[in-house]
Symmetry: C2
Amino acid sequence: MRLIAGIELGGTKIVCGLGTAGGELVDRARIDTRRPAETLDDVDAALRQFGDAHGAFSTIGIGTFGPVHLDPESPDYGHIGMTPKVPWRGFDLLGHFTDRWKMPVALDTDVTAAAFGEARWGAAVGAASVVYITVGTGIGAGVLIDGTPVHGFMHPEVGHVRLPRAPGDDYPGACPYHGDCAEGMAAGPSIMARWGAPLSDLPDDHPAYVQTAHYLAHLVTIVLLFYAPQKVVMGGGVMTNGRLFGPVRRGVRELLQGYLAVPRVEEHIDTLIVAPGLGNDAGILGCVAMAADLRS
Amino acid sequence: MRLIAGIELGGTKIVCGLGTAGGELVDRARIDTRRPAETLDDVDAALRQFGDAHGAFSTIGIGTFGPVHLDPESPDYGHIGMTPKVPWRGFDLLGHFTDRWKMPVALDTDVTAAAFGEARWGAAVGAASVVYITVGTGIGAGVLIDGTPVHGFMHPEVGHVRLPRAPGDDYPGACPYHGDCAEGMAAGPSIMARWGAPLSDLPDDHPAYVQTAHYLAHLVTIVLLFYAPQKVVMGGGVMTNGRLFGPVRRGVRELLQGYLAVPRVEEHIDTLIVAPGLGNDAGILGCVAMAADLRS
């Protein structure tokens, strides 16, 4: 049985996994994100342990926090970009793993990895184009068009669009760059700052749901108008309890006003905008999926 | 010399052209858009005349107004969708030309054709990913990612996003579906309705420029965050006099606040957001470009 290593690199924690080409996760480890050298020593140790316990793996898939340089033509290819996590700025993530492990490495953003995971084994199986949106500490999206991730001069950064404000909402926003972009108005930190608690601790009828859904409905509407994906999968901590899906779907239809006159929007929006089929494992399984296609 | 026919199908006029695989336009004709049968009789006559005058062409490229069904798997493939041009609704445009001409036909939206034209012979030569935005009677965009048009369950409809309003702007908007979406606030009809004249008739210091640029800067910012294209080409009647480029570029940088920290945004935005290199011929030459790659 061919084995594949996955590494989901987040700002606070790293999930390492060992998976099969069929999407089974046979082992996993969790590592706290610190400075690159010590953190990746721990990651390498976890991968070695996987190998000792289950047999050698032949390729590695990495989904990382961004920004990350993904243009193979660029001298910065595989390096972390201008992240607020200062010690990681400019770090050659791809180089580290290709040097250390001498095997093919697939690299993309954490959200693109999650989109791959959902497309291969999750809620988006059979969909030609998939957008995975995470709403957690930040807001980001991975976009697959006909199975290929959208990268231009960089990967998408959908969380930083400015949206019309909810009626009566005068919160300045929590994004250090933009204040009231989507991320600044609807990600976890802005919910904490406004209401003093995460959404999951607030009762069903709390106005935080309506307000957060306002911004997410606007964001998803742009996703539909720009990419027209067959599936929009929404994950991340803010989405976890599932209560936002109803108001987001209703908000999207209200914003579109019948303009995208197709059954998947008009009649089946509950199967167009969905929760991750793989739950919290979308990212790590997506790393495995990305590397499953590499030749070892 | 191989000849290619192009047909740019607009809501008020149709441009037919005969071109070469090198991008030279050797003949052209203009036809008013009426009901499908009579209009396309004239188009067919124009194409026959091209053949008589210059020799036979071997493929046809069509760029049409939307919405149009572009999913080859769909039973509606090649048919016009729910357009306000009622006689064209459901019309089998692709079928008409393949039946009548018995040769390979490439079909996409008019704006995607323009993106192909600019990418092949215009302002976006050498750019892997290109977005062509037209700002005219409506607002639309053609999107090429690594040379391939973005289609999901339909083609992009970027003109219908809602944007934050310009300070003090209380115009309800001219879009029959959405009122104040981008198209409703910044396309030609809304400028006429607000100011009683097209932008080109208004003096340089008229507030219409600032207001229109506000919405277009928001729209282009979303284009950059979602697609990160190497070139954004802006055409259409509203852009023609060139005066909006300065305020749109400044607006985009202001909205991004340094978030896309790459030289092409931070230092070279004047070569990132540009006018069409092919002027008004972007669409018809793009039709030729699309069909130049078909095997005859």
